[in-house]
Assembly symmetry: C2
Homo-oligomer: 408 residues x 2
């Protein structure tokens, strides 16, 4: 059979690691034991210096790159960025994708059976934070024999985890790539999250979070949450360009059926999502987003909050992203610069809105490739086999963007 996804890491297998040591969560509760599902691509070098952790966002998973032999269409969510010769080059790096605790793709989450009761956790599953995820990821790194990450990378909520790594384990991470993220949600972000949560919890099929026992899923609520999320992940201009005011039929129907293409698209996306995603996971992920705020302990002084970090930072934002706009990234960059960290900032002129971090964009990918090329050299991860697309001058220019390169 021909490789269904060329230039890919190819067919991959998810792996599973069990942890019996209790995890004390920030919320005060304890997870007595848990399992993490993960995938790896590439080879850990002899020095164990070339590991790159990929952190996922709200609806992501451990399946970051490649495809499954039994389902070749199930391609990893960041396959365009990660693979042989790709910006995160699996010929040089050992890349790890992990499903976070509380997720619904195999790691222990609200839908998992609680050994103490023999029933799914449901509402009893504790709220987890970005800090908790990073702690659980560090344990997975221990298990894999990785003392120090060359880098952690993530977009959106994933970017928050990459940032948290530099604070929780400053000596265990070389670089954090924080993309389309923020050091904390804005009021508007929290407000949208709460509408999504209220949609789910007010769905009669939610059953207070214990819908598993009722053989139900709060599909109406999840659908609404996803529809709303989707609108905010795309730029207004892109929506206008992609859907405009195009009708589903020739003329206005003057009823409540689908009238415009955009309605059809959103309802379809919402229905699809509701069938595959766990409602409790959705709630928990949005809460983790709300809670993340490293400057909370320093009275809002982000520079001081970031002072413990020793990593180099790559921060990128997308001009059309209004959920995590460039302003929020610039706040991080300013704080990092004030805290004398090494930081490279890129503001990318992509039209897609927040979703741009997942999409193909030559400029964006070139910037990540160039940064990761430096990381590879730093950790002795071998030479790039494919030609680097970015000229040295462009790279220098990129470094000077916004914040320049200061500190170590």
């Amino acid at each position: 059979m021909a490789d269904p996804q060329p230039h890919s890491v190819g067919a991959v297998l998810a792996q599973r690691a069990g942890f019996l040591e209790p995890l004390i969560l920030k919320a005060g509760k304890t997870l007595a034991s848990y399992e993490l599902v993960y995938e790896t691509y590439g080879t850990l070098n002899a020095e164990r210096s070339n590991a790159v952790l990929v952190c996922h966002a709200l609806s992501g998973s451990h399946h970051v790159a490649g495809w499954y032999a039994e389902d070749p269409k199930k391609v990893g969510w960041w396959d365009n960025l990660i693979g042989p010769g790709k910006p995160i080059d699996t010929d040089r790096f050992f890349v790890i994708g992990v499903n976070n605790i509380g997720g619904c793709h195999g790691s222990t989450g609200p839908g998992s059976v609680d050994r103490a009761t023999g029933q799914p956790y449901g509402a009893a599953f504790p709220l987890v934070t970005v800090e908790d995820w990073v702690a659980s990821q560090a344990r997975l790194m221990d298990r894999l024999g990785i003392g120090r990450l060359a880098a952690a990378i993530g977009g959106s909520l994933g970017g928050m985890q990459a940032m948290q790594w530099t604070l929780s384990y400053p000596d265990r991470i070389g670089h954090a790539l924080v993309i389309a993220a923020a050091s904390r949600l804005s009021t508007q972000n929290i407000a949208f999250n709460d509408v999504a949560r209220q949609a789910i919890v007010s769905d009669p099929d939610f059953h207070g979070g214990n819908f598993y026992a009722h053989k139900a899923i709060p599909a109406r609520g999840l659908k609404l949450a996803r529809m709303l999320g989707h609108i905010t992940y795309l730029s207004e201009d892109l929506l206008m360009e992609k859907f405009g005011r195009v009708l589903k039929r020739d003329e206005y129907g003057f009823n409540y059926d689908v009238e415009f293409e955009i309605e059809s698209y959103l309802r379809y996306q919402g229905d699809k999502f509701a069938q595959v995603f766990d409602a409790n996971t959705y709630l928990l992920m949005t809460k983790a987003l709300d809670y993340f705020d490293p400057a909370k302990e320093t009275g809002g002084d982000l520079a001081r909050a970031l002072s413990a970090a020793k990593a180099g930072f790559f921060v990128a934002s997308f001009a059309s992203d209004w959920r995590f706009p460039p302003e929020r990234s610039r706040e991080m960059v300013k704080a990092l610069v004030a805290s004398r960290k090494a930081v490279t900032y890129a503001e990318i002129d992509a039209p897609h809105g927040h979703d741009a971090f997942l999409l193909d964009n030559p400029h964006y990918h070139q910037l990540v490739a160039a940064y990761m090329d430096n990381v590879a050299r730093e950790v002795g991860a071998g030479e790039r086999r494919t030609a680097l697309v970015l000229a040295a001058t462009e790279l220098a220019e990129m470094r000077g963007y916004g914040a320049g390169r200061e500190g170590a």
Copy 2:
């Protein structure tokens, strides 16, 4: 008893007009008869030339100014703009507020009893459009003996009605004041509306629109719709300034209760709204918004679509309004200028977002006052008794803003 609302038109009484002549709706259906509830302030002059119609938006009503003797706290929604000596000066103008057909404040709507069945219309109530509203408003003007409006004014969906007046009845309106509106909704606007509608129709208490018979209200859906609407009516900066990330309690609760002040505020607003507003009206109003598009018949050529108008136009937008941003107003102004209409445009630097059109803002109110002062002089509506706040030079400057004054 002292006047509870000084500088107000004072205690007002709603009036009711029945129309037995059928209204043929744009959707093809016919409303056999209907009633309109309205209020008037000020005195119609002998020439019947000083009438100003106020059109309401999604959740507005005929109660535009003043208060009710039996409930002095129930102040009209545009009382800050309309009254003696106010920008729309009831000492000079005869002002009419009317609840639109399909509404839930007294005019015939989905909650009204259908004479044909003796039951509330519910799902059987036909969809109505901006054009239909304007036609029904024109009949009310006939009834009041008003051949020609000095002006029609409205914000948001109300602005669309003011604009439609100039197209449906070019000889019956002198000026249209179109505030925080657009000549058609963007894709994103339609998308938000559809999420709101899906929230309502998927609420089990909606009963396909016939919830009256079930003695139920789809409160969960309406609450979600209102929460979402509220977020989009306010600017992100205002939300940040007003609520920030302030917690309801001292510390994170790590549960799904209210955590942040913004959640408390939105849930409260949503709950309150759900108890007083009709779900079918909400659906119908959002559809009227979606459908409005005068350039639909001219292949998107708005200038040509507006060519029938003879009125003068006052168009205003607010810099922080992202639901109906200045770009949308500028589109209208460009088309009006291209169509050689008299147009005055103001882009007002208010921080409140879309809701700014309802709020006190000296600059905004001065601009409306100055424009209406000209209208008053044009129709011989008497001299202003209070000093005009705007200097002549400022007014000239305003006229030059954006588009200048062209045409008649």
